[in-house]
Amino acid sequence: MPGPFIEDAQIEHARKLAEEIVNPIFDLIRRNTTVSTERTVLRFFGISGAGARGVPLANLMVDKLKAAGVLNKGAAYWYGRALHLGAKSPLEAVERLTALPTDKLGPLSPEQEQNLREEVRAEARAAMDDLKSRVAQRNALREQFPMSPAPHKYVIVATGNIYDDVDQARAAAQAGADVIAVIRSTAQSLLDYVPHGATTEGYGGTYATQENFRIMREALDEESRKLKRYIQLTNYSSGLCMSEIAFCAAYEKLDMLLNDAMYGILFRDINMRRTFIDQYFSRRICALAGIIINTGEDNYITTADAYDAAHTVIASQFINECFAKRAGLKDWQLGIGHSYEIDPYRDDTLLLELSQAMLVRRCFPDAPLKYMPPTKHKETDIFFSHAYDVMADLVAIWTRQGIQLLGMMTEAMHTPLLADRYVALKSASYIHRAARGIDEEFTVREDGKIANRAREVFGKAMQLLQECRDEGMVAAIGKGHFGDVKRSETGGKGLDGVLEKAPDYFNPFLELLEAT
């Protein structure tokens, strides 16, 4: 461990501030549900198909319940009522149910209500057991074929066709990749549904769909067996459907998800309330499924300046950690995000980057951490860019990053060519091999540039946390403290999908997830 730099008591204080910041948001989370949360409940019950014109059944059902004004009792409750109507399919039942006049939608007798909930709970337990057994299958494969030591080398495939992505992912795994990220179509974050089926003509990536997840995981399972080394798969649980994607990913045995408590608010202008509620349920699912989340603080310093805004990364990491812990995630599941993004034409940037990465390691000693490569200052001179990436490789091994997204020398030009990934993997393997243990050989002087910079950044992060605590998270985001982006509580997309829960709201999956 490269340094204390900061006293333990100060770090504890930062955690306490984060908790006080997050607490009021949990009142909101407890009182409300969202359309996407309710769709997730239906997906848990196996409603993963699509109806006419590809509209997911979960959407059809939730939209009908919302239009009838009864969704606030919980989709699980109506699922139970629908089954009692004896329809051939759940969709048909909900159609009949919602076609009934409102007075027929009233409560049943207390005994019937009780029985209905017990029946639905039993079904929910069975669904949960099914999910757990799938997760156990994944874990067994992981044990059979252990992963390479960290930092796990993470590369991206982004052809827009899931079958081409499979070819590239296999090639990347053969070249030494440990984690494959399938880039998601950029437009998906604002879709209020999860598309259905395999993507063969995506723009800027493929959709995060359950079928795409299945296709890629199946290929990587095969590749893992062949290489005798488990290859992890990740995708994006972000946007308007965080928890639905988390469910699909858990069911299809993914290993990681990009999942941030605030990213959608800041960078996709998704409503704050919607995001806070959705992130909670999505993280509960990740906690159960042993999925490692990757937070998105690296994004702050691609918009704001990496040197000036370094403290916002640290402050946000404490907040993200707190949200995650409150959702049941364990330290080993926290791929806390940060990146190597300081302008390379400044002086001392290797020292500054080391300082920042060491500070993150110091604050989150038991989390895997997710390290991102330079992007903003990448040049079309690929030889320079390659050298620039190699420095990030060095910082990653020096600060024991758990997950390292490898920089691509053609970052400033196009999605990586097959050979770009190969070259990046070859040199990262070399640097990791060459410098493993370097942190134990060199102690960092407490009165030097690295330690002083770490203290300065941490001090500013504490100030920011204090401000967020005093003014509230909503006001802090409103002032543009994170990523230089300003958002309001009632602005952004998706607020109409937030509903206050009825007093007898029913969600057996949330009950089960919170009980584990």
């Binding site: 090639a171 053969q174 070249a175 950029t186 437009a187 800027g204 960078f267 097959l418 050979a419 190969y422």
Partner: protein, 261 residues
């Protein structure tokens, strides 16, 4: 005009006119002696001689990555390369502001956004935001520009509507994602909307992005295109000169440093 005398050049590796070129590429075959020979044959077919396959690496089971050095006998007459001469030097931040104040006499209004489904604001932020890019201030910082950055995933219609409401002099469209030419489709749609709104040919319409160049932008119906490496000051200078040309205060054939080509 006197035709300049010939100036024959070839790539310079280690000696003048040796014609040495470095190449790297991947072939979809497993690494083998046959694969190496295939790389050499491929390079020769491109017209190179003295082919040296410097590296042949197993990039994956069925892919081999090559680094090849070879000589080209192609030569060209540098004197015949026709690129408009630089006449006006690019102005610094202060000089450009003073220049706009004097020549235009009002603030130049600029709107920008990453439109369509593209969510990547890195390009438009670099050009418009206060901070700028690589130490070069963004347009928001220029007192004589009034710059509005609408962010990402902005519908083309909305960008044009908002720009028209403020009588914008220039509209910047950034397109980062280029998969399956989505940037071209969206850019064409932007031009259609601009035509329908009657601002095409009146308001400066600029396109920017890592896979954009001036030629492509012109083909798509824009007034100019800015590719990778563009600095905010390049765009600022361009907009100021283009506006003055439109106002009839600068000759149409005037050229200056940093203009898109």
């Amino acid at each position: 005009m006197v035709k300049p005398s010939k100036q024959i050049i070839r790539p310079y590796g280690d000696r003048r006119d040796d014609g040495v070129v470095q190449l790297s590429f991947t072939l979809p075959v497993p690494l083998s002696e046959k694969a190496k020979e295939a790389a050499a044959v491929f390079t020769k077919k491109m017209g190179f001689s003295d082919v040296k396959v410097a590296a042949a690496e197993r990039a994956a089971d069925n892919y081999t990555f090559f680094v090849v050095y070879a000589r080209s006998s192609v030569a060209l007459d540098y004197a015949e390369i026709d690129v408009p001469e630089v006449i006006v030097k690019k102005m610094s931040f202060d000089d450009l502001n003073a220049f706009i104040k004097e020549k235009v006499g009002r603030r130049i209004v600029v709107f920008g956004a990453c439109t369509g489904t593209d969510t990547h604001t890195v390009g438009i932020d670099a050009i418009l935001n206060m901070k700028g890019y690589a130490g070069d201030y963004g347009l928001e910082r220029y007192p004589w520009f009034e710059a509005y950055n609408l962010g990402s995933q902005v519908p083309n219609e909305e960008l044009i509507k908002k720009a028209m409401a403020k009588n914008a002099d220039a509209i910047l469209v950034s397109q980062v994602v280029t998969q399956r030419d989505v940037h071209k489709d969206n850019s064409r749609q932007f031009i259609e909307v601009a035509k329908a709104a009657g601002i095409h040919g009146k308001v400066q319409l600029l396109l920017g992005g890592p896979r954009v160049d001036h030629k492509l932008a012109l083909e798509l119906g824009f007034d100019a295109g800015f590719g990778p490496g563009t600095k905010p000051s390049d765009v600022a200078n361009y907009i100021a000169h283009a506006l003055l040309k439109k106002m009839g205060k600068e000759p149409q054939d005037m050229h200056y440093q940093g203009e898109p080509k």
